[in-house]
């Protein structure tokens, strides 16, 4: 797969560059600009240097939100990745059943984010929801809008409900690319189910699993709409994740400077972690091509 060197390929990339420049670089520059300035209303801006960054790095509110965000993403990955692999391994291989499973599993992925929030709102409410009502009938006290633990449990259940299928579909695609001969060879060798998984299926899924982990990390780190609709960040600040906090600051209180500084640091953290993932992915790709 040798690619030829051709600088004229740049012409094919130019439309993308122009579009992305308009929708990304210009707004980004605005953010950078605001993050170093202060405004007293109107269009008067004053240079404040690194003031906002200094303030934010000492802000307990930001660190708390950051901690919650990390914990949330960590739990999400811990549940969704193994569960997704399990579901992918359990999926029917072909025929009608496979099609039905694919369509049903994709369904949550195509529901608008705020409708996902709404679904879990009406599902979990102790007065009118199936889940909430059933739990309280069983004698378990459950109220996601008042109890912080219940709120977390519901937000996590909602995210697992919403996105596990993505991990499962990715793994399923990886599994489908394994030639049948591999399984036959394993069967002749009397390999156990575990060693089939460990030495055939898992290595073949590595590439797609990387994509799954990367996507799930990025998206769970940016989560906004679903918890906003479900809990509004509450009770108290229990489910106020970074994006919710940021929107509160930028559009709610209109604190342009701090919000801009917040945005940049937020973006940089995602970028840094994703860059590590991406580098690992690329080198894994190269390893595969070599072997």
């Amino acid at each position: 797969m040798g690619k030829t060197v051709n600088q004229r390929a740049w012409f094919l990339v130019i439309p993308v560059l122009i579009l992305v420049a308009f929708s990304s670089i210009i707004p980004m520059m605005t953010v950078v600009n605001y993050s170093f300035q202060d405004t007293f209303g109107g269009n008067e801006f004053f240079w404040v240097g690194l003031e906002w960054y200094r303030e934010l790095l000492h802000s307990e509110r930001l660190w708390d939100a950051f901690g919650r965000q990390l914990l949330f993403s960590f739990i999400i990955l811990l549940i969704e990745v193994p569960l997704g692999i399990l579901v992918a391994l359990s999926m029917p291989k072909k025929g009608m059943a496979a099609s039905i499973c694919l369509v049903l599993m994709s369904l949550p992925l195509l529901i608008p984010y705020n409708v996902v929030g709404t679904i879990w709102q009406v599902f979990g409410r102790p007065d009118i929801g199936l889940l909430g009502r059933t739990l309280s009938d069983l004698g378990i006290s459950y109220n996601y809008s008042q109890n912080a633990f219940d709120a977390w449990a519901t937000v996590i259940a909602m995210d697992v409900w919403h996105w596990t299928s993505l991990v499962a579909l990715l793994c399923y695609a990886g599994l489908r690319s394994i030639p049948n001969a591999y399984y036959q060879a394993a069967m002749i060798d009397q390999a156990s189910r575990w060693s089939v998984f460990r030495y055939i299926e898992l290595p073949k899924m590595r590439g797609v699993l990387m994509i799954a982990v990367l996507l799930r990390f990025m998206d769970s780190f940016m989560i906004y709409t679903e918890p906003f609709v479900l809990t509004g960040g509450g009770p108290g600040n229990a489910t106020t994740f970074l994006s919710i906090d940021l929107v509160k600051m930028a559009l709610g209180q209109f604190d342009l400077g701090p919000a801009a500084a917040f945005s940049l640091m937020y973006f940089l953290v995602i970028l840094l972690i994703s860059y590590v993932f991406y580098t690992v992915m690329i080198s894994a790709d190269k390893d595969e091509e070599r072997s």
Partner: protein, 279 residues
């Protein structure tokens, strides 16, 4: 060979276990949706006063409220307009770029590719305010094109990524043969190459549609009346007298249907598409 039938029969309980896992998982996915659907057929008094697994007093009133009121159903029309616009724009700029990335090496190609991906990693919350100011200053605020362009932020990188994966699977010899046969680049691209990766384009369109359709933060920030999407309009079921649960549920159900229809058409390619064409 005597080992084969034995291990064949020992696979059976495993298949049964797999069926159980699948059944539980699908039930977990479907029960919350079921609750939303039946709620949309109930009257508000039934929702609030009785706890019923089926609507005892089956009503279509909630749907009539939505389909009979332009300020409701125009939300669906607005959403469709900007989602379609976004899909067309994303595909038309991503196709040539993906071709360049899949076929050629050029100055800064890897950095450019990663930089494109970083836009997929940018939290929409970061862009909400600057987008609002940018589109207001070029007087595009509250237009469909503004939302469509804003959604390009994450859809264009994704489209390039998926298409590049699919294009890699097409042997280079095809390009070379076509060029030797005297095809110009444009004619080759539109007449030969695009038909060859049609499934990939279908899958990419599906993803652009999906991510634009489900997004709320940017589309809500960039619109007020004329281009307001249905997902933002839904919030108005919150009124002084409390929530209008039935109408909210009906509006939710109506946002699920387009996705379900689109999924049905791409079901055979969907697994590969989710893997960004790289399997």
């Amino acid at each position: 060979m005597s080992g084969l039938p034995k291990s064949g029969s020992s696979r059976k309980p495993k298949r049964r276990l797999a069926t159980i896992v699948m059944t539980i998982y699908l039930l977990f996915l479907l029960i919350p949706i079921y609750w939303l659907v039946i709620m949309s057929f109930k009257s508000n008094s039934e929702i609030l006063s009785m706890f019923t697994l089926f609507p005892t007093d089956f009503t279509l009133k909630n749907y009539q409220t939505i389909l009979g009121d332009p300020s409701w159903y125009m939300g669906y029309v607005n959403s469709f307009i900007y989602v379609s616009l976004n899909t067309v724009i994303s595909l038309s700029v991503a196709l040539p770029a993906a071709y360049a990335f899949s076929r050629y090496r050029f100055f800064g190609d890897n950095h450019l590719f990663f930089w494109l991906l970083t836009n997929r990693m940018a939290p929409p919350a970061v862009f909400a305010l600057p987008f609002f100011q940018l589109y207001s200053s070029v007087s595009l605020f509250d237009t469909h094109i503004a939302v469509a362009l804003a959604h390009c932020l994450f859809n264009v990188p994704l489209a390039v990524w998926i298409l590049e994966g699919f294009m890699r699977g097409v042997p280079r010899e095809i390009d070379e043969t076509a060029f030797i046969d005297g095809y110009g680049f444009t004619r080759f691209f539109t007449k030969i190459f695009i038909p060859m990766i049609a499934p990939g384009i279908g899958v990419t369109a599906f993803f652009c549609f999906m991510f634009s359709w489900v997004e709320l933060l940017l589309s809500r920030t960039l619109t007020s009346v004329d281009a307001k999407p249905i997902t933002a309009i839904m919030t108005r079921t919150v009124s002084a007298s409390g929530l209008d649960w039935g109408v909210l549920a009906a509006a939710g159900v109506l946002t699920i249907i387009p996705g379900a229809i689109v999924i049905y058409f791409v079901r055979n390619h969907i697994a590969k598409g989710f893997a960004m064409g790289r399997v």
